[in-house]
Subunit: 196 residues, 2 copies
DNA sequence: TGCAAAAAAGAACGGTCGTGCTATATTTAG
DNA sequence: CTAAATATAGCACGACCGTTCTTTTTTGCA
């Protein structure tokens, strides 16, 4: 079982990178197999269909996101430090890690926002979870007394994530070297409005 | 010449809709031709290559955006009314018109942010233009004395567009019926911070 | 009304797509 | 060490891809 699981992991890892470039629809088994020096059918045998592969890639990306963004932030002290850590990690993720050249979730949001099916459902759930996570972290700021007691934490999450999205466009597509400064300025303003 | 230009327009119109669903890469000549009851080669003859078609579709979408978003807003009085009109139109556009079920620019931003070539270049220019337009409209707010004299209009545009992006995700993918309320709340906060 | 020009169709090309099936290697367990 | 289980390869399939070439239909003007 060890060997199979091992190559399976390699496939998913490479698939995440590819997905960040061409999306989950653009992902091709032939390409993926060639890059991993596997035969197309050998690769295919690990997944029963392309859709199953897509779902597994999405799941693997979610785990990566939790590992690199969410979990490390939870290690920071509750309240503003944790919110700040979450934002820092989020921007790093949007900038792109070694495995994903770019945040795959924003791409997939666009790819699947009007394409019904299991992939869309899983994606929507993951994004809803992300909103919830941001809101929950913001709530620790309320609990610690750093944020206003009447702060709408879901609104906070909405704006928090919006900054990440426009950051990625500015950084990746427009290649604006002020993107970081702009994102942090927007974030600071959001923090300021949230403080008690 | 009339007939040719006419069908050409029909092709582009339908292509915009398709692009908003599957992107410019996912666009297929066969599909497009079938939907328009044209032969694939008959359609192809109007454009010398798929890339040329992609560029024309992008150009047509830009014109649509200017017609439905930018131009009507310019008709509103300078200052906050114009900024407000621009935001309203922007959200309508993100929600999707009859021709494009969803804002194609956000999708294309993700599709091309790491795919070099003429399409990416044209897209980046169009998005840069959009940032410039928002900044310019914000500047009328400064001129009219409604906004702070030291307002960073590019920062304003950055945050303005970010709200539109997260709005589209909330509205389209997450189907949050509070999306409108959230977007306007964020926008009001941005206005408040910008006022003198 | 007839004729040149423009538009559309038809057919074919080399590729790649996702997906089966069958056979061969490789790994694992007794 | 061997036998069963697992993993990978090879091959073929029908479908669709973008593109080219040739032929037919339609259009607009003299």
């Amino acid at each position: 079982m060890t060997k199979g699981e091992d190559t399976r992991q390699q496939i998913l890892s490479r698939a995440i990178t590819l997905t960040s470039e061409v999306g989950l629809e653009g992902l091709s088994l032939g390409n993926l197999a060639a890059e991993l020096k596997l035969s197309k059918s050998g690769l295919f045998a690990h997944f029963k269909s392309k859709e199953a592969l897509q779902l597994e890639v999405l799941q693997a990306a979610i785990e990566l996101f939790v590992r690199d963004v969410t979990r490390p932030a939870i290690a920071a002290p509750r309240g503003i430090p944790r919110v700040q850590a979450l934002f820092n990690n989020y921007l790093s993720w949007a900038r792109g890690s070694s495995k994903a050249r770019t945040c795959i979730f924003m791409g997939l949001t666009q790819e699947y926002d009007d394409r019904p099916g299991p992939v869309r459902d899983a994606l929507a759930k993951s994004q809803q979870d992300w909103h919830d996570t941001v809101a929950r972290v913001a709530a620790t700021g309320v609990d610690e007394g750093a944020f206003r007691a009447d702060l709408d934490t879901r609104q906070f999450a909405f704006e928090f994530i919006g900054i990440g999205m426009i950051y990625q466009q500015s950084y990746k597509l427009l290649q604006d070297e002020k993107a970081d400064r702009r994102a942090y300025a927007a974030f600071e303003a959001l923090l300021a409005r949230s403080r008690r």
